[in-house]
């Protein structure tokens, strides 16, 4: 599904962050990436999401090279195939929870029936994640855990094939972090969505089928059995 071949990324002040990094993921995989702050986890996710560009290397999504995409093609790629979950929930303050969840649908040219279908999908996800009663509330009226679950639903509303989660539990307490971790795995199992999870949390990381560590700009597999 996703193949990364020898990508390198350097920043003027931070030096080389990713060095000849390669990765190959199959549909339905779940992978965690751990590593210290500044090791390049977010950079890797941004590059996969075409929010950033590597200095060199190649990325193939379902066999198609991504790095030559125009900005419009990149946007379309993200909209149709990707879901993002960030450490901060990044819900827009002027939209209700429901509107926030439906936000990605506005970026695509959906027919009314497709839109309706995805809206129904969103409702189910909201029920599944326990936030169905919060649809008409504004982000500042709900808790951090609820907001992060709303973010998860938003990332999945467009039925993406790849979910990029960047420290999704970083702002949550332990209980909420556990709930969100479980939800991620359930989505992986039930919807077949491929997950790449960047985290500091070893507990969460160990729940993923593939566990990698970013060391000196390259991915190294973490030995041990998944929980």
């Amino acid at each position: 599904m996703l193949r990364i071949n020898s990508i390198t990324k350097s920043y003027h002040q931070r030096g080389t962050v990713l060095k000849e990094l390669s990765l190959h993921l199959m549909e339905g995989d779940s992978m965690s990436v751990i590593g210290p702050s500044g090791s390049g986890k977010t950079t890797l996710l941004n590059i996969i999401g075409l929010l950033d560009k590597p200095d060199s290397g190649e990325i193939l999504f379902r066999g198609e090279p991504l790095l030559n995409y125009s900005p419009d093609e990149s946007a379309r790629y993200r909209n149709r195939n990707l879901g993002f979950v960030f450490q901060d929930h990044l819900l827009l303050p002027y939209l209700t929870v429901r509107e926030n969840i439906l936000l990605p649908l506005l970026a695509s040219d959906l027919s009314a029936s497709d839109f309706g279908e995805k809206e129904q999908h969103a409702i189910k996800l909201m029920e599944r994640t326990g936030i169905s009663d919060l649809g008409e509330k504004y982000p500042f009226q709900i808790s951090g855990g609820e907001a992060q679950r709303a973010t998860l639903v938003r990332s999945l509303v467009n039925k993406p094939s790849l979910l990029l989660a960047d420290e999704p539990t970083g702002s949550l307490d332990k209980n909420n972090a556990i709930i969100l971790g479980e939800l991620l795995l359930e989505m992986n199992r039930e919807l077949g969505v491929t997950i790449i999870l960047a985290t500091h949390s070893h507990d969460l990381a160990e729940k993923m089928a593939i566990r990698m560590e970013l060391v000196s700009g390259a991915l190294e597999e973490v030995k041990g059995k998944a929980k």
């Binding site: 946007a75 506005l106 839109f115």
Partner: protein, 1089 residues
Amino acid sequence: MKPGTGHIILRTLLFYRSSVISQILIIMLLSAVISGSLMTGNSVRYSLKRSSSERLGNTGIVVNSGMRYFDPSVSERFSRHSAAGSTGILEMKGYCQNFATGGSAFNVNIIGIDPSFFAFHGDQDLLIGEGSVAINSKLAELLGLNEGDDITIRFDDISDIPADAPFAPEKGPGTSMVLTVGKVLSSGRAGNFSLGISQITPLNIFINRSDIITEDGEPPAINRLLVEGSRDISVSDVYTALKEVLTPEDIGLKIRLSEMTGSYEIITARIFLDESLIDEIKGVLPLAEPVITYMGNRFVAGNNMAPYSFISGLPSSLFADLPNGNGIIINQWLADDLNAAPGDTIEVRWYSPDIDNRLTEASGRFIVSNVAGMADQVADPLLMPEFPGISGSESCSDWDAGVPIDMKLIRQVDEDYWSRYKGTPKAVISYEKGRELWGSNYGPATSLRFPPVITGPEIRSALEGSLDPYRTGFTITDIQAESIRAASQGTDFSTLFLSLGFFIILSSVILLVLVLSTYLDSRKAQVRTFFALGFTDRYIGKMLIYEAGVVAFAGALAGIAAGVLFNLMIIKALNSVWSGAVQTDTLVAGMAFYPVLGGFSATLIVTLIIISIRIRSFLKGFKKAETGIYIGHSSRLNLILLILCSVPALILLVLSVVTEEFSVPFSFASGALFFLSLIFLFRQMLLRRPRMVASGAERGRNILTTLYNSFNPSHATTPMLFIAAGIFAIMITGVNKLSINDRMLESSGGTGGYLLWSELAVPVKEDLNSRAGRIEFGLDDEELSGLSFVHARRSQGDDASCLNLNNVAAPPLLGIDPRQFVDKGAFSFATKLKSAGRVNPWELLDTPAGDNIIYGIADQTVMQWGLKIRTGDTIVIRAENGEPLSIVIAGGLKASVFQGYVLTGFRDFNRYFPSVSGSQILLADGDPEMAAAYKEVLESRFINYGIRVETTAERLSSFFGVNNTYLTVFSFLGTIGMVLGIAGLGFIMLRNYSRRRQEFALMMAAGFTPRGIRSMIMRDQLRILVAGIITGAVPALIATLPSLRSGTDIPWMLFVLMMISIFTVGVISLLVAVRRIEARSLITSLRKE
């Protein structure tokens, strides 16, 4: 302050240098406008003082005898007595022509001087050759005159006798002289000498007084004494010295001996002695008794009649056995002529001394009490005053009595009497009765007689040094101080330009607030850290204020330099493109300490107040508890407000179209309500909250924008309101530029419905509405039958119109017949005297107000800006006799052709200014189709009177020009302010962008393209821009509908340019701002800070 704080502040300012520089630049702009405006005010005041100082030369105090004349030798005696330099001049108004080209100049100062004049002004060597004149360079430039060219000058005849006084000789159209231009004088050589208070450079002709010859063959006397300015001499010193040196002869009095009675008498060159002068002499010499002698047209007894004989009113204290009341003593000659004896009744007829009825015969019936012999003391030939046209005549047929004499009535017996007894009165009555019948504005007596016990030398000796100058027609003014006062209290350009630059100031303040908000937003983390580290609120607030203080100080200081530039540019514009406002090109940009300090301090205070408020609110934000309660914006309330505004707006609009009288207030109110309606309509559209539906990317972005705006409507309405309000104000101001419309040409308008305004250098004495007057000037053609006139007499004074930047305390009076305006319903009043109830203010001008109190009417604008008074207030000026005259303002005229004057009734005017004879202002009425023909006729018929004719519309326009120039300045500076404000839109964008970075980054992650996000923002902001322009422009047009419909000259080009500028600057600002929304810069926002 704790140690090290200064260091932190410095490092902070350096770190945030780009924002700090923005703040400094905005504060600099604010400071530039404030200090620049103050400097402009100071520059104008300085220029006015400088020009008045240049005009006055060495003159410090001026002794002014108004329309009267006094002996030139006073100057020498005065200087000897007071040790103060002085020179006498004869100041007149007139007109002149370039003899070769015929080019003419009106309202020219003709100054008769003595050789001492230029020496007095410090130019010892400058003299004017005999038969030549010196002119100032402005006049030379205007008429294209050079040294050696010939110039024709014309001015009113110079005579001690008021032309309208009874029996004053007939006068022609003034004096005309052709002279050679000997010198063209620059301002440095007293060329611009003037005693008038005005910034307008005068047109001057200096002529040797000895070159002017009056009717008696002598050079004329003087009417001004210039006293050298010095700290050692005050008005009081001048008064004392003048009183000391003043002799009776100096003011035209003559002491002579009556051989018949052996008593002395005082007579005057003016024929009639003023009441105040009589009181003054009687105060010194209580035994003086007034005598009045008048000419009777006919003495009739039964069937007998004697024509044109004199009759005296005598004091009983000097003449024994005088009858009282209607008793009359006739001399033997008249008794024989009329065959009358004691007990008989004699009817006496005479021309009324009242100027209004000068050619109307009045009469009285008297009972003969006695017949006096021809050697009796009442048969004194000196009882007749020295009537210039009568006294020296050989026979009655030679008389120039100033009134119609029917020569057919004069018999040989009358010639015989004249030959033997000259003007010896044929009859006498009591003085009291004589005064009642013949006393007039010119005085109640023709002489003052003394008992034989007092000799001429005793009289002279008593009067010398005793006559109060103030009671003998003189005014003494510290003209230097008065000029400085007038300049200091004149039009306040500081306030004016602060007001005109309002939008720049407002824009600067808004920009400052916006930049400050952005700046403080970026400081949140730092401040949070300080809180976390245990710094107190007080300390953090103090630190932020100190930082702001440094920024404000730097900005305000830099603004002073920019203010100097602003001042230079404004003064340059006022001297050129905006000269319509100041009527001169001689303003000089100057710098002074106080305006600089004022501008600096004001900017610093304003800035620090704004900054303190923002900082306080910023720090409060850190303590605000999150409640989670969301109170949405009520679209229902907004809709109610929209309906409440738009329905009355529509009703008022319809009313403004269908009603004539109230169309202006209705349309303005309608425009204002439409303005509010559009604001509420725009807000209503913003508050709409659409559902998210299948839409496509572009519509999806619109939905997002709409949702954003419905959540934060103020983010869109604030800039829209700013743009709309600015355009609304500028357009209303622009459309309201005054121009002549049909209403102004109506009777109730500013022209009073009159066609032409004429000013004459030499007053016209005739009544141009009378048959005789029309014949005299060839206005009796059938074609001109519709032409009629309002005559106005003018006293001296400084122009109080908006064309004069100085504060004028004593404006010229115009004496008019108010009945003509009442009958015509001419002109309209902006304000009326409340205590007069419903009485027409014009009618008050015919109502006596009291002794030395009269009613006056002035243009409202003159009162408000020039005189700084209100209706009901009193201004005090000096009457001709030197006495204070209070003028109670009975009404303020709406913008009229009378700007610059105070109007008063004819009767009052003649009473207090009897020497002003003839009309210098004529308002002509007639067939509007023939206005051009009338103008041509008047210009040709009155060519010798130095007439200048303009349509009343043109005159009104010239006043509007000043107002309109100010409005242009306002529009210009307003547009600059708006453009700067719109540039601030960029800051709003940047601020919003900075707040919404994460939102845009998230949108990008969700599949929106950066281009799409930019396009979304551009569309949204363009919508605000266009909504602002429409909301400002459309209601402004509605508010000014009457002006638009009346064909007022609308500055469409300015409006279009303004809107294009605003739109262009807005678009550029937006483009610059949205350019910063790009993928790379947004990615970092996705990480948690």
